[in-house]
Symmetry: C2
Subunit: 357 residues, 2 copies
């Protein structure tokens, strides 16, 4: 089976066309069977491709003039879907010309346009935004939902667990990633009704390609003891940003401390390799690539401010998702979970766009 192409929104991202093309070319070195559709200003894309003949040979250009703005409302972006680089990249997935699209543009617009164009896959009520975060262990941890859904019920959470495990198998190469639900305590009585119901259903389920072990508290996310953290989009967004802000807070304190005296400046220079290691671990470019899971097609969000290495990481994740055929994997686990088990948990609630299988 030949691999599907990857659409790149070459205009989405603060750093411009060159960074998107350069990043994609870098990722292509490890995934040289892929072909690309580069969507955006043809002259600038061609100019960026000059430096990357191999990438140029593997790419088709789809010209367009318009770009979704960073602060554009999703409703307006949707109306301009036929004329913007983001809209056309998503449309290429919808029409089957590509298997996935990568964009560094406006997250809300990307989410809304993708959901409308691609619809949720059979058995999934709502797509989720999944991201990778560094840990003290060997692998990054997958966390979802990071903000696509403010309210989630037990049925949504179970579906997120299955989708997150499918993503984690690709990241960790584990057959059964360790999955937990984010909660304010680990005892089974803690949290909301939906969390307790989802936990019980995941415990009762057999045959899923994941190892479910109850709840996890937010201070344990980065310890490397778990592969997938499942949560509603509100709590997930709070946890993600709290972690980012706290890491920045500590490194800012360090900077202040290290520049506070000549002695500490000398110490800083001597220990430069150590602080470089820290910087490498915390550099979001090394963990770039948020994925919208649960749609009929793979949509990957690259950080708006990502550099070429960051974009390469996002395209690398995209290629691995396609190589692994994540959509088929999720569908298989959903079948294993059984529509009956899911139906029991969610009292028939659904806000998805797609009729259930």
């Amino acid at each position: 089976m030949s691999l599907p192409r990857i659409a790149i929104d070459a205009m989405g991202g603060d750093e411009g066309v060159r960074v998107m093309v350069h990043g994609a070319a870098e990722a292509r070195r490890d995934h040289d069977k892929f072909r690309f559709l580069l969507v955006g200003d043809e002259a600038r894309i061609k100019s960026a491709l000059d430096e990357h003949p191999g990438m140029a040979a593997a790419s088709e250009i789809l010209h367009c003039d318009e770009v979704v703005e960073g602060d554009e409302k999703p409703s307006r972006a949707i109306r301009r879907a036929k004329t913007t680089s983001m809209g056309l990249a998503i449309n290429a997935v919808k029409e089957g010309n590509c298997g996935a699209a990568v964009s560094g543009g406006n997250t809300g617009a990307l989410m809304a346009m993708s959901k409308l164009a691609l619809r949720t896959m059979p058995g999934i009520d709502r797509p989720a935004l999944a991201g990778l975060m560094p840990t003290l262990g060997e692998n990054d941890v997958v966390m979802l939902d990071l903000g696509a859904n403010t309210d989630c019920d037990a049925r949504n959470l179970i579906q997120f667990a299955i989708m997150g495990a499918a993503y984690s198998r690709i990241v960790t190469a584990k057959a059964e990633p360790r999955v937990r639900l984010l909660n304010i305590g680990t005892e089974s009585i803690k949290g909301t009704d939906d969390l307790r119901t989802a936990s019980q259903s995941l415990r009762d389920a057999t045959g899923l390609a994941l190892e479910f072990d109850g709840f996890i508290e937010a201070d344990k996310i980065n310890r490397g003891e778990v592969d997938v953290v499942v949560t509603d989009g509100f709590s997930g967004n709070i946890a993600l940003k709290a972690i980012e802000g706290s890491a920045r807070f500590v490194t800012d304190l360090l900077k202040t401390a290290f520049t506070s005296s000549l002695r500490s400046k000398v110490g800083f220079l001597v220990s430069r390799p150590a602080t470089e290691l820290l910087r490498h671990h915390l550099d979001p470019n090394n963990h770039n690539g948020g994925v919208f899971l649960g749609l009929n097609g793979v949509i990957v969000k690259s950080h708006g401010s990502a550099n070429a290495k960051g974009v390469a990481n996002a395209v690398h994740v995209t290629a691995r998702l396609l190589e692994d055929d994540i959509t088929t994997r999720i569908a298989a686990d959903l079948a294993e979970m059984g529509e009956d088990a899911l139906r029991e948990t969610g009292n028939g609630h659904s806000s998805g766009d797609e009729p259930k299988a």
Copy 2:
């Protein structure tokens, strides 16, 4: 007006009676007008007081044999309220023998027992757990609720804002602390209905002793740009633990980095003063003292693992709350907000134990 006494649960805290007594004695140096009721094993308390004659002269001992266990269920702790050091400390507040109680014991038990014994103050539906966190600015930031209430409506959030501002005035000495609601974006359309309703009501309110400025995202909590962060107990607990876990993650990475080579070990030693500064900022003992706000009496939770300096901080906070008569201040702001304004937001919802004023 004479100051009310402070009850100290001398048995609550992992480090034992000596640490609780030593910490209280240290705090008393800055607050020498206060008198104390020390609740717990009389022989051990007396022995601990031998080192602190000033404290001994200012203290009465209330002997008891029993202690609330760290993993004891709140329901069981409540049944033992008349015989445990925690229960008797709270009871001293209830009976008016003391104005406040400090405990380093089981948080869930302390919360449940306090709520039952003291009831919420007029105009408050639910008490909240408020904590202090370090920032890049001059002052710690107050965040509440940290886990007392899993679900909160707009009315609860407004009350938390008023209570948090009252606490912050004591911490920052500002007449109008800057208050924001924790949300997943700063635009007014973001988040839940309750968040948007609370935001609008706080914007519309005039005459409150606080400066309300809409929403804040979790990555900005520690920047020093805000004095009070208001949130429901679920999100607050997630944010607090995510921040703690992330700070620990970064310092663990640093430790690994600094011990990875001889060069970086030397660098670490040379820059010791800098890393000490970091440790000082992140040491929870410097930000110790979670406060249950909204009860008829002040209840302060000291970290179970706090050292004497940490306990001193918790007692210092308690003394400041009493000196400032926080309960009266909250009542005044509630009156300013007006029962009518509050009634509009919460569609009459209340889960408090106290009839409204």
